[in-house]
Every structure is written in C-alpha cells, then in structure tokens.
Assembly symmetry: C2
Homo-oligomer: 377 residues x 2
C-alpha cells in the first residue's frame, strides 16, 4: 500500500534499519562471550519479536505481566519480568508458572522477599527470583555487596518454593551520560558491582547462576562481559534521538518514525503545522537536556531522508508545530499543504506506546506489511 492511501498519523518501522541495529548489538554481545535477553518493552510485538529472534523460544525480558501473557501465548517460555514484584501480581505470576512458563521475577528488599516466600509456599508453586542490585543510584536495587543483599538471598534460599536464581541490574544512569567515556565507565561499573554481588552470594553458599545486566548504551559500549550470563536491552532495535544524542547511534540509524501530513502554516512566524502532535509523538522530551534539543522529534521527508534543521518545536494533542531548531522560522514554501513527512522520535518506547501496530517499510514510500503490538497492563 502506498503512503498516499494512508490516513495520518501512522507509526512506521524501517525493517532494513531494524535488522542492522539488531545485528550490531547481537554481534557485540556475542563477541564478548555473553548472550542477549532482549527487552521487549520497547517493541511489544510478537510479529517483530519473531522477525528479530527467529522464534519465541529465545530468552526475553518484559516490563509488564500483560507482555508476559502475550509472548507466552505465542510460544515464549523463558521470560524475565524486570520490575520489582508487588503482591497484587503474585496470583498472575503463579498462573503463568503453572502454564509451564519459566517466568522469573525480581525484588530488592526483605519485605518483598518475605511476601514472595509466603505466596509461593501458599500456592505450592516454585517461583524463581533475581535480586535487583543498585549499580548506579538511578532508581531501584539493593546496595551491591551489602549485608542486606545476603539477607534477601538467605530468605529466598530458605523458602521452600522460592529459587534464588541470581542477580540483575539496569544501568539507567547511562541515559544521563553526555560522553561515550561516561557510558564506558558505567558499563564497567555495572558489570563489576553486579558480578561482585553474585560473588558475595556465592561465598555465602548460594549458587547464583544468573548475572544479568543491561541498558542499550552500556551494552553497546561494554568492553568486557566476562561472568555476565545475559545482557538485557530493548531500544537498540529501533534506536531513537535520545540514543543518537548519547552518541550510541546516528539519527540515520533510527528505524522508528511517525508519518505525518502538513495541514497548515503560520506564514508570519515560519511555522508549519502537521497532524502529528504529542499524542502521535508522546510527551517525551528526552533530548531537552542534550547538546541538540530535538523538540518533539526530528523531521525527515516521506522516504526517511533527514531534512536537516527541522524539528517539531511545539505540540498539542493532535497538532505538531515545525520550526528550525530553537524555534527559528522555516521557509514554509518547502512544506506545502498535504506534504507527507517522517518524524523521528525522542524515545522509541514512549512513541510506539501510542500505537496498536507498526507499518513496516524500507526506504521507499510503500507499506510492506503490518506488525501488531500491545499496550497497557
């Protein structure tokens, strides 16, 4: 189907770029002797997962139990739910475990560990757990190599129906880096603190077979993955302007974009109005603190060729306002009413979440196929 037959906005996914991005990450992680457990929270699509992974027997990571249900329903059997567990989700966890899904959960505190021990025992269902380590201070996780870590491990080991599988961390602070040297340092720190935590549990007599780390920036800039049994990353498949701003990729590598149409102008101000507002792009302003603030997105032509100094400078619910960077006026004669544009997103996870499907494209202006995706909880 040609773009001209589509109502806009639509979410496009360039399959050639997707394949190149995925191959690059896979080769890097495997060269360093580890393996990927891709985080499917960015893409949330069985069709896309099958394309990238071959089939869903591959280990995967999810951010919601709805994703776990969805991927398990299509064949996934080795799933890590990588958000600290709440008691209200334990019935759901048990139900998935009883369907022969090898679902692993995470937690970072004694109260949650005691809750899981009690709920797993009450359900007489074995529940494997990773302890979340705080490797960079950005969010969750127990202090690495701490007494609290060992106490949580001991509680899980002593539970009749809990299985301490190992440790995990997410180096989310890498998103705050402004240099690749900073990302490289965080990657080394992520590995060493998580490995040190696994060693501490092992020295205390616990097996701790899994050492799971990851974030797209640290995964791509890691130089050593010795002892790391798996690497989790998600946004690497599509990439986005935040990744480009961190030097992880070029804007030309971004596989995800929003197809929009010019619906108006403000000639006196040099503004071009489109039908892709913040509902189409998300409210994510992840590049606002970067060297180049890309507004709500960087603008390309309908074939995906970057137009240079053109961004979505402002956004209402269903309106985007295009200007040059920093709100400078555009020559609107280059943007006639009805012109189609592709807009690259700041944050792939947030933009994709506004849509129920991907229109799969390459460098042309035709739809090759549609891939469904899910949202919500």
């Amino acid at each position: 189907m040609p773009f001209a037959a589509l109502e806009t906005p639509q979410l496009l996914l360039d399959v050639t770029k997707l394949d190149a991005n995925t191959a690059r990450m896979k080769a890097h992680v495997e060269r360093l002797g580890s393996r990927l457990r891709p985080h499917l929270k960015t893409t949330k699509s069985v069709d896309l997962a099958r394309h990238v992974l071959g089939d869903l027997s591959h280990p995967i990571t999810v951010s919601t139990l709805k994703e776990a249900d969805y991927f398990a329903g299509h064949g996934a059997r080795d799933i890590l739910y990588a958000v600290g567990i709440a008691e209200n989700k334990m019935d759901h966890v048990v139900a998935l475990r009883r369907k022969d899904v090898d679902l692993t959960i995470i937690l970072d505190n004694l109260a949650s560990a005691a809750m899981v021990v009690a709920r797993a025992a009450a359900a007489e269902t074995m529940v494997p757990v990773l302890i979340e380590i705080d490797s960079d201070g950005h969010r969750s996780g127990v202090e690495p190599q701490s007494g609290a870590l060992v106490a949580i491990g001991r509680l899980l080991e002593d539970g009749a129906y809990t299985l301490l599988r190992g440790v995990m961390t997410h180096a989310g602070a890498s998103y705050d880096c402004r240099t690749t040297a900073c990302i490289e340092k965080l990657a080394a720190q992520e590995r060493s603190l998580t490995l040190g935590s696994a060693e501490m549990l092992r020295e205390a007599g616990m097996a701790c077979p899994v050492v799971s780390i990851g974030s797209t920036p640290t995964a791509l800039f890691s130089k050593n993955l010795d002892g790391v049994t798996e690497v989790r990353a998600g946004v690497f498949m599509s990439r986005d302007l935040v990744m480009a701003g961190l030097g992880v990729c070029a804007p030309e590598d971004i596989a995800l974009s929003v197809l929009a149409t010019v619906i108006g102008h403000q000639p006196a101000k040099g503004w071009v109005i489109t039908d892709a507002g913040w509902m189409a792009m998300s409210r994510d302003r992840g590049t606002s603190g970067h060297g180049i603030d890309q507004g709500y997105g960087l603008v390309a032509d309908e074939y995906g060729r970057l137009l240079g100094d053109v961004v979505v400078n402002g956004a209402n619910q269903e309106h985007g306002i295009l200007t040059a960077h920093e709100g400078k006026p555009l020559d609107i004669s280059g943007f006639p009413i009805g012109m189609r544009l592709r807009i690259l997103p700041n944050h792939a996870c947030a933009t994709a979440a506004q849509y129920g499907e991907y229109l799969v494209v390459d460098s042309g202006s035709e739809i090759l196929t549609r891939w469904e995706r899910i949202n919500g909880w």
Copy 2:
C-alpha cells in the same frame, strides 16, 4: 471489587468529582446563554459520555476520525472534528457524512479549502466547514478579520458541495497563563476576535451561523458569551494538576488518578519506588513551569486523600520515584511495601491515553463499574 484484588497500575475515575466538575461547567456556560459542545478527546469513552450527556444525540467535539466513528457508532449525529483536515482523511469524512452523521470539519487556509471543495464535489457529498481563527497566536488558524479569512469563506461558499457553517477558535494560550486575570483577558479576546471574524464574513454576505470557541480555562473564566453559539472544552470533566496550577480548580477536584503500589525504597535517599512510571502517568510534565512543579504527579492515599508534600519526582517506564517536592527526601516509614496510592496526573488527556478503561470509583476503595475508552487513530 476492592482495590486489594486489582493488579496495579490502574486508571481510576471518581464519579462524584466528575459529576460536580461537569455540572459546574454546564451551569456556567448556560448561565451566559451559550451551550456546551464537549470535547471528548480527553475521555474518549462512550460509557462516560452517556453518563455525562444523558445520550449521544448531544453535540460533541472530537480530535480524531476514529473518535468520530466510535461515537457515531453509538448514536452521535452532530460531531465537530476539530483538527485541520488533511486530504488523506477526506474519504473517511465522506463515508461518515453518507451515514447520516452531521460531521463538520475545520480548515484555516486556501489550499485546504480548495482541496475540500474539489473532494466534496467529486464525492457529490455535502461537507460543512468551520474556518479556524487564530485568536491567540499559539498554534493554527487564519488571522482574524483578515482578507485571507474572507477569501477562504468565499471559496467554500462557491463550492457546490461545501457548506460554510461558521468560525471556530481554540484559546490554547490560556494554558500559558499564570493568573486568572490573564485567563479572563484571553477569554474576552477569544470571543471578540472570533465574533469579529463572523461579523466580517456576514458583512461579505456569508451566513456564518456558528461561532464556536473554547478551552477549559477560558470557558470557566468567561464573563460574556453573547454571540457565541457553542463552547468546546474537554478537560473540565476530570480536571488535572495543570488546571489546578492555573487556578481553574483545586487538586481535590481532580477526578482522574492512577492506582499504584509501593514496590521498593531507597532508604538512604528517602525515595519510595512504585509500579506507576511514565507509562502509567504519561511523559507529560505540564506543571514544570508552574509555581509548584508536581513532577509526574501528586500523591494521595488509596482513598484519594492528598498526602501533602509527596510527588512522583522521577519516572522510568514502569517505575515511579516518590519524594517530597523538589526531590527532598520522604520519611519512608509512612510508605510500607505493598501500600496502595492514588496519583493525580499533570494532564488528564495524556494520562488517560495510556489506558483502555476507567475503573469508576468514589471516595472509597472499591470499583463501582468499568467504562471502556479508545485510543489511537
């Protein structure tokens, strides 16, 4: 169903507050002699619309043709699609018109008017149009009382299958006000510039029966609606922290919230971690420029009682980080693991768009019923 039986996050809607908010707006607009054409882009729910409007024969406003389809499928017949039309949506517009839906579209430029004249004639289907007026410089619209306005009107009048129905504007600049005096001034300006534009068209011999204005702030602070045939507003039903920051309502009036659960702590930093991150709240940071920056949301207990100085200071995809305002530490002993909280959103339109349903509640901790909602295009 009690909250304790729910997996979190969930979207809650306090029906008592919804009813009070709606009654307040309706009474105000009717007292000034106009009528509401509520904008259903915030709530996107037939169940909610029926509750608030009685039935769907009431005039409504929508932000997407998907909303138009959805509400028309449940009985709506008088629908304004309030985003400048693109040619790729004209087949859809014609299809709705042919189903006896009185769908009105808008535009603000000669090229779009010529396109609509041609497409309506080719389809031999009458298409009613409002001309969008730029009453405050914030986004779209033709210059009020300008030659361009009259030229667009003439083109539509001359079209065999276009019906110039009138003029409309949206005073979105009211969201940038920091005082109620500013909102009052914008409300008066919104009315006078739109009314003046209607008069100009009438003086040029065009009927222009409709004068449509609106935004929740200007609608509530309007003092005179003489000559205004309809007022569009949407967020007034639920309200949100942006409206509270503008002085349009109190935080206690906000009907929409997200039910979340405490999943962890960072004791040394005074952080409380919940399972409601930016996916649950949206990335909207609409209060960031306000006198009180509410982060990603203001925190109440599970009954909706505000906890005071507690906000979602940081958010990852499925994690919220609670602190006091400005990131100051909390006494985490007040937030045990497993505690349920209600989090009030910055921007109701953006937060609700992350969910497929509302759980309808009042001041208790039970679900009264579920109301579906739609998303996407």
